[in-house]
C-alpha cells in the first residue's frame, strides 16, 4: 500500500457571501466575490492530516480542478498539513460547465496515477449541492465508498466508517482502496497557523491538464437558466383554528 491519500478541495464562493444572480440569468456573480475552500473539503483535509499524524498514512496530496485561483485553495490545504498539491487546470467555458461527472473522471485518473490508497472528498459542495462526485468516482474506480462519514477508523487494510443516514447512524466496514466523503461532524478543521502558512510556501503544486490524464471534460449538461428563489412573503397571524382552515382554503392549499 502506497500510504498515499488524495483529498479533493473545491474553491467555492464563501459561505458568508450574499449570492446574486447575474442579470442575464446565466449564473451567479463570481467576479470580485470572496471565495474560499468548501467547508466540507476543509473537513476532508483535516481528516487526511489527522490520519497522517496518527501514522496510518504517509502522504496527503491536495487536488483541485479549476483556473489559476484554485491554487490558493490548494495552498490553504498545504497550510493545514497536506504535503503537496496537484492543480488540474480547467479554465473559461470549460470551467463554467465543469461538473461532478468530469471531476470524478479526473479524480479516478489521478487516483490510479498516484497509486492512492484512499480518496477523501467533502460530501458535497456548497455552491451546487450535487453530492455526486464521491459516489461517481468510487463507481468509476470500482472502489468501495463510505459516504456521509461522521467517524473513520483504519483497521488493518479495512476501514470502519460510521455514516450519518436518515434513520440515524450506520456503521460499515469497507476494503481499501476506497472513497470517503466527509460529513459535518467528522471533525473540526484546524486553523492554518502562521508557521504552517510559511511552510506551505515551500511545498510543491504540480500542474496538469485534463487531457494529460486522458479525460474528456465536455459537459453533457447545459444550464439553461438560473433564477433567485421566490421572495419569501410575510406571514399572517390567525386567531383561531377556523380562521386557519379558512385561510388555507382561500389560498388553494386545501
Amino acid at each position: 500500500m502506497s500510504g498515499r491519500v488524495l483529498v479533493g478541495v473545491k474553491r467555492v464562493i464563501d459561505y458568508a457571501v450574499k449570492i446574486r444572480v447575474k442579470p442575464d440569468n446565466s449564473g451567479v456573480v463570481t467576479d470580485g466575490v470572496k471565495h474560499s475552500m468548501n467547508p466540507f473539503c476543509e473537513i476532508a483535509v483535516e481528516e487526511a492530516v489527522k490520519l497522517k499524524e496518527k501514522k496510518f498514512i504517509k502522504e496527503v496530496v491536495a487536488v483541485s480542478c479549476g483556473p489559476q485561483q484554485a491554487q490558493e485553495t490548494i495552498r490553504t490545504a498545504l497550510a493545514m498539513g497536506a504535503d503537496r498539491g496537484i492543480h488540474v487546470e480547467v479554465t473559461g467555458k470549460d470551467y463554467d460547465t465543469l461538473g461532478p461527472l468530469q471531476v470524478s473522471k479526473i479524480f479516478a485518473a489521478l487516483a490510479k496515477k498516484e497509486d492512492a490508497q484512499l480518496l477523501i472528498l467533502g460530501k458535497q459542495a456548497i455552491d451546487d449541492d450535487c453530492n455526486q462526485t464521491g459516489q461517481m468516482t468510487a463507481a468509476l474506480l470500482d472502489w468501495p465508498q463510505g459516504t456521509f462519514a461522521s467517524e473513520v477508523s483504519l483497521e488493518g487494510d479495512k476501514i470502519k466508517v460510521v455514516r450519518e443516514i436518515d434513520g440515524g447512524l450506520e456503521t460499515i466496514k469497507i476494503n481499501t482502496p476506497a472513497v470517503l466523503t466527509a460529513d459535518l461532524r467528522l471533525n473540526t478543521p484546524r486553523y492554518a497557523t502562521l508557521p504552517n502558512i510559511m511552510k506551505a510556501k515551500k511545498k510543491k503544486i504540480a500542474q496538469v491538464k485534463p487531457a494529460d490524464l486522458g479525460v474528456d471534460i465536455t459537459s453533457r449538461l447545459e444550464v439553461l437558466r438560473v433564477d433567485e428563489p421566490p421572495q419569501r412573503l410575510a406571514g399572517v397571524t390567525v386567531e383561531t383554528v377556523d380562521d386557519l382552515v379558512a385561510k388555507l382554503k382561500e389560498s388553494g392549499t386545501i
Binding site: Y191, L194, N196
Partner: protein
Amino acid sequence: MAASLVRIFSKSCRQISRPWGASRAAWRSRSTNPAADVSSDQAAGGVSFPPLQTYSEEESMMREAVKKYAQERIAPFVSKMDENSTMDEEVIKSLFEQGLMGIEIDPEYNGTGSTFFASILVIEELAKVDPSVAVLCDIQNTLINTLFAELGTTAQKEQYLSRLTTDMVGSFCLSEAESGSDAFSLKTRADKHKDYYIINGSKLWISNAEHAGVFLVMANVDPSSGYKGITCFIVDRDTEGLEICKKENKLGLRASSTCPLNFDNVKVPEKNILGQIGQGYKYAIGMLNGGRIGIAAQMVGLAQGCFDNTIPYTRQRVQFGKRLFDFQGMQHQIAHVATQIEAGRLLTYNAARLKEAGRPFIKEACMAKYFTAEVATLTTSKCIEWMGGVGFTKDYPIEKYYRDCKIGTIYEGTTNVQLSTMAKLIDKEYDS
C-alpha cells in the same frame, strides 16, 4: 545588472500578487543606478510601483487566517475580559498555538520566520477584535523578541527565544513613577558585585506583567554617567526580590495587565545582561522606533474594527423614513472618518515597508503613531454618536473601542514626544 532588473520587473508584473518579494531587491539596486533603472523599467513595461495595499501571497494568507482565528477564538471572550480586567489564559495559549507570538523569529527557535510587515498585519487584524490582545502580541513581537533576536548571545537566544515563541510572555520595563517621557532619567540601579548585579528600584506601567515569565529591565549601572549607564537586564519572573504588584484599574485596554514592579535587592548574574553595558538607552530607542509602527497598526485596527461594527447599524436603523446612512450629514461624517482611517493605514504600511527596506523610517513611524492615535480617537467618538443611545451602552462593543483608543496618544511615546521628534528631524532636513 540591467538584465537582472528586467527579469525582476517582468517577474513582478506576472505575479502581481507578490511584487514586494521580487522588488524588495530591486528597491535597493534602484538607489545605486538610477539611470539604468528608468530605461530597463520602461523596456520591461513592468509594474514596479504597486499600491501600498499590495501583499505577498503569504501575507494575504496570514491575514485571512488571523482574521478567522480572531473572530472565532478571541471575539467570544472580549467583553468578559474587559469586564474582569483579565486576559483569559485560553486566549494567550491560542496566540502561541497560532504562531502569533514569534512572527519574525527563525523557525530554529520555533518562530514563524516571517517579516515585520506580517507582524503589522497580524496586529491590525487582532486589534479589530480586541486592542488588548493586539498589544500583548505587539509587545512580544516588536519589543521583546526583537531585542533578544538582535542582541542575544547564542546561549541567551537558546534559553529564551524558543520559550518566547512557544509559551512564555515577556515584559519590557523602562518607565518609572518619576520617569515616563523622560525615560532616561530612570532611577533603578544595578550595582555590580563580582559576577552579578543587585538591582534596586521600581518600575511603573509595565504591560503584560501579570503573565510575563521574563522581564527586560532597564537599570543604571553607573548613575554618574547619566543615561550612558543604562543597561538591559534579563530578569526571570521567579527571581527573589522581584515583586509584581497589583495591576492598575484602567479606563481602557483593561484586559492587558499593567502593573508596578518592585526590585528589592534582586540578584542578576552578569550573563543576563542583554547586549552591552551602558548601551541600554540606544537599544530602547531603537526598539521603540519599530514598536511605534506596531502601535500605529493597533490604532488602525481599533478604528477599523469600531467602524465596521457601526456602519451596519447605520444602514439598518431607520428614522424619519430613511436609513441613518442616507442622511447627507451622516454620509459626510462617515466618509470623512473613512478617509482618516485609510490615511492612517497608509502611513503605517509605508513606515513598515520603509523599515523592511532598511531605509530611514523614524519620522514616518512617528507620523504613523501620532496620526493613527488621533484617528482612533476621532473614529470611536464619532461611532458612538452615530450609534446614538445604544452606542452609549455596554451591550454594544462601541464604547469599549472608545475607552481603549485613548492610550494610543499616551504610551510608547506620547503625542507630544512624537511631534517633537518629527520636528527635530524636519529641522535637520533643511540643514544643508
